[in-house]
Every structure is written in structure tokens, then in C-alpha cells.
């Protein structure tokens, strides 16, 4: 066995290993299939070459060397373009598949015109076909390398792979022929290098993990979102973007949310699928691959990216911008919709995004609008109602979205129900119910408004005129005011029926945010208590010791105003704990 055959044989083994690796690890079905076809062709080529030259195989297999060589060239071009354009290749570069049409013709012609592997790259129709295939495979990545910030790195590696094939194919073929080593023709030493480069790129552009869903036909139901476009949801937090995605999913439309795992709820059979974003410097490329693959399997789908800023953080702004434009194109091709939320983007990034041909919806903060709706009926007390609702449900204020409106209505109903038993004045009771009824109808009307409608800017907080507020005060005064106050008291009462630990925790969370519960648990540990073992006398002890135990939290800062602020928070905790302990005793 000569050294050259050993090298070709080793390359074939590497090709088989790469094929197994890509088959096991890659998540892109279409690219995996193309890669497998090319790798198998190379394996057949290498094995047939080594087998015939070393006489393990009969001379009949020599034709397999030529045929696999012919097939490998168009497959290389298709794979390289597929790695650049992904699932959109059939739409973006459909002509590339014409190369495959020529292959059967060449197979048929080969015996009659007596083409052999050593004449493969000579000036004849076969040589022209092979060179054109490699030329296309090289030209596209070179073009992308020069024009794309998203694909610049990968285009380089694709070019490396194709150049390796050109050197190992036509160039070595010519050199070996000059050197009189004609039997090397038909083999390609660049094959494992090319496959490795293609695999490297395939893994960069591997989609984020997404729950498997069966392929569906093009979705054609009714939708509140424009098709074939990208819609930017400009809001404080991605509340409407997520709510819209869930609402579309509930109508049977395939929806994919590409987000961090902790942001949206986990996927269920009817809800949107969630592609979990993983930290990677190829984040933009992976996001593009995840979205493209999903809409290729589910045409007419919605792809929502509530955290565009996260992609920017991973890959930089320019690649992210290009990713958005490419995904928008994919959405247009497949009659799908791309939903983007731009919270946390910088002003400069927003400005640049506004310059792109995207639909831009500026949306309100739902909590603020809900409060404005309630304010039309309850005046400044609306804030207390929303706060009481948040505490009762253990929600931070920013999580009060339109999805929470049914729960808020139920909460209001319960508060009014509690109150009606204690109000002696029937007229006042009736008036309060009427006021609450108006508020609930307004809330339902607000919750029913689509994001597109809201994007026109007519929000409750903007439309509530000052004169209306005055009328509210008059109405409240008419009903002697106390009924409204009592409603707030009833709402507070609902919260006070909660277990002791939850009430105590709420006090800490109200002052210290998310850190509050941890601080409380730490204080409980010092008392030797578990949350479920908390008793009223423990709350009293916590109140007694608050100034000393929590005082350290003020000592760690060296800004006098901040020390005062933290001490006032600790004092507020002490007073609230004393009140809870008093209530319980």
C-alpha cells in the first residue's frame, strides 16, 4: 500500500467520523441531509479509490470513483450555499439545483465518450461542469465575506473548505499528471479538510434547542398580525410581544418564541414553542437559524424575539441588524410574521432599526394604563387597588399585563362582595357597585384592544382629561367618599387573609425587592425557624430586632442620603411587622 493511498484512506475515515458527528449533533434537518449526501459521496469516492488501487475491489468499482466525483461537485455547491442561506436556499438561489439535473446526463454520457477520472478536469463538458460547480461554491462565500457582517467568519471557513477541494482536486490532478502519478486522479486530499470546515460552520449556525413539533401545512387562519412582515413592539417590557405570541398560538397558529429560558413560561402542547437562547458569540446566526428552520417547517408561523438586546449583547449590533433583515426576508417568503421587542436597546440602535423597513408599534405600559382606567372610576385610589392586587397575587407591578385583567376583575368583584356585607347604606352600596361596574367594563374594553389599535396612540392615560378626574372626585364625594376607601380596605382585607409567612414576606419584598425574601429567610434562620413554622411572636421578635439586625444593610453604603433611605426602609419594615404581629395577637 503506498503512502498516498493511506492518506486518502485516513481522509475517508475522518469523513465518516464527521458524518456521524454532524448526524448526531446538528439540529438542522435539511442541512444535515445535504451534508450527509456530500459526506457519503466522498466516502464512496475515497473507499472506491483505495479499494481499486489496492485491489480490494474489482476494477468495476473504478466507475464509482468517477460517478461519486461527478456527484460531489454539485453537492458541494448546494451545501455551501445551503450553509449560507439555510432553509431559504430553494427560494433565494433555486438555480443551484439545476446542477443536479446535469448529473444523470453526465452519467449516461460517460461510457459513450470514454471520459475517465484522469481527464475529468480537461476542457470538455464534464470538466466545465466540475469547474463551474466549484466556482459557484467559492464565489458565494467570497461575496458574503465581503458584504455580510453576520456571515463574515463562516464565509471564510466555507472558502477555506472549497479552496481545499480545488487544491486537492483540479490542481493536484494537473500536478500529479505532470509528475506521472496518474493513478492519483479521482481522489481528493482536500475532502476531509472541506468536510471539517463545513461541519464547523454547520455547528456555528446550529439552531437553539427547540421542542420538536410535527411539520405542518401553511397556516391560513385569521390573525391580528400582518403577514409577510416584521413588527417591532416598542414597549417598556416585552409584555405585548409575548401576549400577542401566546394569543396567536391559542388560535392554532404555529408560534416560536426565541428567548432566555426564564422569560416566558415553558412550552406546552397548545402554547408557543420556546427556543431557549444559549450564550454564544454566534447568537445572531443561531437565532436566524432557529427562526428560519421553524418557519420552513411551519409556513405562516410567528417567530417572536422578545430579547433582541440579548442577541446584540452576544453578537454585536451589526450582525443582529443583518439577522433581523434576513429573518424579515424569510417571513416574507413564507407568509410568516416576525415579532421583535426592542426593550433594552440603546437609542442609537433604536434609531438605526427605525431606518429599516419594519412595522413599528409603540405600545404603552399595561400596568400604567390599567391604573389609568381604574383612576377614571376611583381617582387616585386606583394606585392602592393595583398595589393591593399585586400583593395579593405576589406580582411585581411590571407583571400586571392585560393577561392579568381577568384576575384583576375577579379580585375587584371579591373586594366589592366583601364590602357589600358591611355597608349599611343601600344607595351607597349600589353607587359603588355601579362605579366598579363601569371600571370593569372599561378594563375589559382595554384588554380587548389589539396591539395594532393601541399603537395608534389613543391610550387611557393620554385620553383621560383633567375634567373627568374632577368628575370622579365629585362622584366619590357624592357617595361620601368612604365607600371607595372601604373598597380599598376590603381589597387590603383580601390580602390580609393570606398566611402569616406570605404577609411577612410581602413586607420585606415591598422594601427590598427580590432580595427581600432572602433577607427574611436569613433572619428566620437566626431565629431557628422555617417559613412554615413562623408564629406571631416570631414576627414580633423580628420587628424588635429589625433595627439592629438589618442595620448592617445601611452600614455598607457610604452615601449619607442612601443610609437614610435604607434606614427608613428598615423602619417601615419594623412598623409593618409590628402591625402584623398586633393583628395576629
Amino acid at each position: 500500500m503506498i503512502a498516498y493511498d493511506i492518506v486518502v484512506g485516513a481522509g475517508t475515515v475522518v469523513a465518516a467520523w464527521l458524518l456521524a458527528l454532524v448526524a448526531l449533533r446538528s439540529r438542522r434537518t435539511w442541512l444535515k441531509a445535504t451534508y450527509a449526501a456530500l459526506a457519503l459521496t466522498f466516502i464512496v469516492n475515497g473507499a472506491a479509490y483505495v479499494g481499486t488501487t489496492e485491489r480490494f475491489l474489482s476494477s468495476d468499482w473504478e466507475s464509482a470513483v468517477l460517478w461519486s466525483m461527478i456527484l460531489a461537485h454539485p453537492l458541494t455547491a448546494i451545501l455551501v450555499l445551503g450553509l449560507i442561506h439555510g432553509e431559504t436556499l430553494p427560494r433565494r438561489r433555486p438555480a443551484i439545483f439545476l446542477l443536479l439535473l446535469a448529473v444523470p446526463g453526465l452519467f449516461v454520457l460517460t461510457p459513450s465518450v470514454d471520459w475517465a477520472v484522469r481527464h475529468a478536469y480537461e476542457p470538455n463538458p464534464l470538466g466545465a461542469f466540475l469547474i463551474v460547480s466549484l466556482g459557484i461554491a467559492l464565489a458565494e462565500p467570497v461575496y458574503e465575506r465581503l458584504t455580510s457582517s453576520l456571515l463574515a467568519t463562516d464565509s471564510f471557513w466555507l472558502s477555506v473548505g472549497v479552496v481545499a477541494l480545488i487544491i486537492g482536486g483540479p490542481i493536484y490532478n494537473y500536478e500529479f499528471d505532470i509528475l506521472g502519478f496518474a493513478q492519483a486522479a479521482g481522489s481528493n486530499l482536500g475532502m476531509p479538510i472541506a468536510l471539517a470546515a463545513f461541519a464547523y460552520v454547520a455547528f456555528h449556525a446550529d439552531p437553539f434547542p427547540t421542542p420538536a413539533r410535527p411539520k405542518t401545512r401553511k397556516w391560513s387562519g385569521t390573525s391580528g398580525l400582518p403577514r409577510r412582515n416584521a413588527i417591532v413592539f416598542d414597549e417598556e417590557r416585552p409584555a405585548y410581544a409575548l401576549e400577542t405570541a401566546r394569543s396567536e398560538a391559542s388560535q392554532g397558529r404555529p408560534v416560536l418564541i426565541i428567548a432566555r429560558a426564564s422569560l416566558p413560561p415553558g412550552p406546552d402542547s397548545d402554547g408557543p414553542a420556546v427556543g431557549v437562547m444559549e450564550p454564544s458569540r454566534h447568537g445572531a446566526l443561531k437565532t436566524l437559524a432557529t427562526g428560519s428552520e421553524f418557519v420552513a417547517r411551519h409556513p405562516g408561523a410567528v417567530v417572536a424575539i422578545p430579547d433582541v438586546a440579548d442577541v446584540v449583547m452576544m453578537s454585536g449590533w451589526e450582525p443582529t441588524k443583518e439577522m433581523i433583515l434576513r429573518l424579515r426576508q424569510v417571513a416574507r417568503d413564507t407568509k410568516s410574521t416576525l415579532v421583535l421587542s426592542v426593550w433594552h436597546l440603546t437609542e442609537k440602535e433604536r434609531r438605526e432599526l427605525k431606518g429599516l423597513p419594519l412595522v413599528w408599534w409603540t405600545l404603552p405600559d399595561a400596568a400604567q394604563e390599567i391604573e389609568a382606567v381604574l383612576a377614571a372610576s376611583f381617582g387616585s385610589g386606583a394606585r392602592h387597588l393595583v398595589s393591593a392586587f399585586c400583593r395579593a397575587k405576589g406580582l411585581p407591578r411590571h407583571e400586571v399585563t392585560v393577561e392579568k385583567v381577568p384576575a384583576l376583575l375577579e379580585f375587584l368583584n371579591r373586594a366589592i362582595g366583601e364590602l357589600s356585607g358591611s355597608l349599611a347604606d343601600a344607595a351607597a352600596n349600589q353607587g359603588l357597585r355601579a362605579q366598579a361596574h363601569v371600571a370593569m367594563e372599561s378594563l375589559q374594553a382595554f384588554a380587548a384592544r389589539s396591539p395594532e389599535d393601541l399603537s395608534h396612540g389613543e391610550w387611557p392615560s393620554k385620553t383621560a382629561a383633567a375634567s373627568d378626574r374632577e368628575l370622579v372626585v365629585t362622584a366619590a364625594d357624592y357617595w361620601k367618599g368612604k365607600e371607595v376607601d372601604e373598597l380599598f380596605g376590603a381589597a387590603q382585607g383580601l390580602q390580609e387573609k393570606e398566611p402569616l409567612y406570605e404577609r411577612t414576606r410581602d413586607v420585606f419584598v415591598e422594601q427590598f425587592g427580590d432580595a427581600g425574601e432572602g433577607v427574611l429567610r436569613s433572619e428566620l434562620a437566626k431565629l431557628g425557624r422555617k417559613p412554615e413554622e413562623l408564629r406571631p411572636e416570631d414576627v414580633a421578635r423580628l420587628a424588635d430586632r429589625a433595627a439592629v439586625d438589618l442595620g448592617a444593610m445601611a452600614d455598607v453604603v457610604d452615601i449619607p442620603q442612601e443610609k437614610v433611605r435604607i434606614r427608613s426602609q428598615i423602619d417601615a419594615i419594623r412598623r409593618r411587622l409590628e402591625a402584623i404581629a398586633g393583628d395576629q395577637s
Binding site: 432566555r260 430579547d307 436569613s522 442612601e562
Partner: protein
């Protein structure tokens, strides 16, 4: 784009003018490479020019840090009240106990709360490794991802100090160099790498490299980092 000046002689030129405002910069290096001193200098010098800065220390107490930095000539009085040290190390002693401490939440509580009374624009976290251990990150990469994202939302220019074992990055293998333990280098907008390089048979030289700085045309070579009545960055000679 607004740039944050480092006021280190030669470093702003290396950075092409300064650090883009709002960047999250990872300052990584082995022990003894002056990560703490350099970032403290950055806050102190900016404070003297009216830019507020917050130094969050999880390992060293405020007194110890002040001893250390005053020894280098950085007096707190000179900062005109524009430099604050958040001594979370002290809280560690007070909160010592068996329960899980909410260190990540506490870090966020303080850094966000301080903005209301002390509107700082620069933040140093000393160190990322200490926070990772204290906060008991379950999935380090994801938790770091969340932290950096949160810092980005805070709208400050942040410097995260990261410890690397001595000799973790050699000049011979820059292509495969690692500047952080958990690949946070991909998440950060910028990376300063500090190292001690051998000079001659017995000498050692501190060197600094701006590995990455999004939005800046910066020099990527290693430079000598010299401290002589202030920091200075110069070309490496010989």
C-alpha cells in the same frame, strides 16, 4: 458616541479615544496584575472630573481597600464625593449563617437603589468570581448572561473583575486564548487582559491588552502597564 476616558496615560490612545459609554468591560488577569488598582484609578480619575462612580467590593472591606488605594495616592477626599465604595464584604460577615443568602438580589438591590441618591455612571464589580461563589450560580453561563444583561439595562459603564490563574493565557496561543472561566468574554462588550510577563532572567513586567472593545477602533497589542505616581501604558520595547 460618548466615550469614557480612562485617564491612564497612553491607554485612551490604545482604545481610540476611550471606552464607549454603557459598555460592559471584563477586566481579567492573574493575581497581582493590578486589576483592582487600575479600575479604582479609573473611578477615581473620573470622579475628579465630576463623573460619579461606584466600587462594589465583595472580597475586600472598605477600610482595607482604602488603605490599599491611598497607599497608591488615591485619596477619597480628592474624589469630591463622586466616588462611593459599596462594602458588601461587611454584609457577608453580618449575614453569615446557614441560610442561602440572596447575594445576586442584594447586589442588584444596592446598585439599583443607589442610583436614586447617587447617580453614578461607572461601576466596578470586584469580583465576578466572588459573586459567582456567593450567589451560588446554578448554571454559571446562564446566570452570567442574566447578570450582564441586567447591567446593560442599568445603563452604566461597568467593569467586571475576573480572576484568571497565572499563566492562563500565553502569548504563543492567542488564537485559542481564554480570558474568562465561563466564556463571559463573548457576552462582554470589552475585555482588558492584564498579565505578568517575564522580562530578562529575573524581571517581570505588567502588561495590558485591549482584547475587545465593541464600537471602538482599538489597538490589540499587549502594552506595558507601568505604575509610577499614576498608571501609564507604553509600547513594549525589546
Amino acid at each position: 458616541m460618548n466615550l469614557v476616558k480612562t485617564y491612564v496615560d497612553g491607554l485612551d490612545e490604545v482604545l481610540g479615544g476611550g471606552i464607549p459609554e454603557g459598555s460592559i468591560v471584563l477586566v481579567s488577569g492573574a493575581p497581582g496584575t493590578m486589576k483592582t488598582s487600575l479600575t479604582f484609578h479609573l473611578l477615581h480619575a473620573n470622579a475628579r472630573h465630576g463623573e460619579k462612580g461606584l466600587y462594589v467590593s465583595l472580597e475586600q472591606s472598605r477600610a482595607s481597600l482604602q488603605d490599599h488605594t491611598e497607599g497608591l495616592g488615591y485619596r477619597m477626599e480628592a474624589a469630591d464625593g463622586n466616588l462611593s465604595i459599596l462594602d458588601l464584604a461587611a454584609l457577608r460577615k453580618k449575614f453569615a449563617g446557614p441560610a442561602d443568602q440572596p447575594w445576586m438580589d442584594l447586589f442588584k438591590l444596592y446598585t439599583q437603589g443607589l442610583r436614586s441618591s447617587f447617580d453614578y455612571r461607572l461601576l466596578v464589580l470586584d469580583s465576578l468570581d466572588a459573586l459567582e461563589i456567593l450567589a451560588k450560580f446554578q448554571n454559571v453561563r446562564k446566570d452570567l448572561f442574566g447578570l450582564i444583561r441586567w447591567l446593560r439595562g442599568l445603563g452604566v459603564t461597568a467593569f467586571l473583575l475576573g480572576e484568571l490563574p497565572a499563566g492562563a493565557v500565553g502569548s504563543a496561543d492567542l488564537g485559542r486564548a481564554v480570558y474568562a472561566k465561563n466564556k463571559e468574554e463573548y457576552l462582554a462588550d470589552g475585555i482588558f487582559h492584564l498579565r505578568l510577563a517575564r522580562q530578562g532572567e529575573f524581571g517581570m513586567q505588567r502588561q495590558l491588552r485591549v482584547v475587545k472593545m465593541r464600537g471602538a477602533r482599538h489597538d490589540t497589542d499587549y502594552h506595558a502597564l507601568v505604575f509610577d505616581n499614576g498608571f501609564k501604558v507604553t509600547r513594549i520595547l525589546g
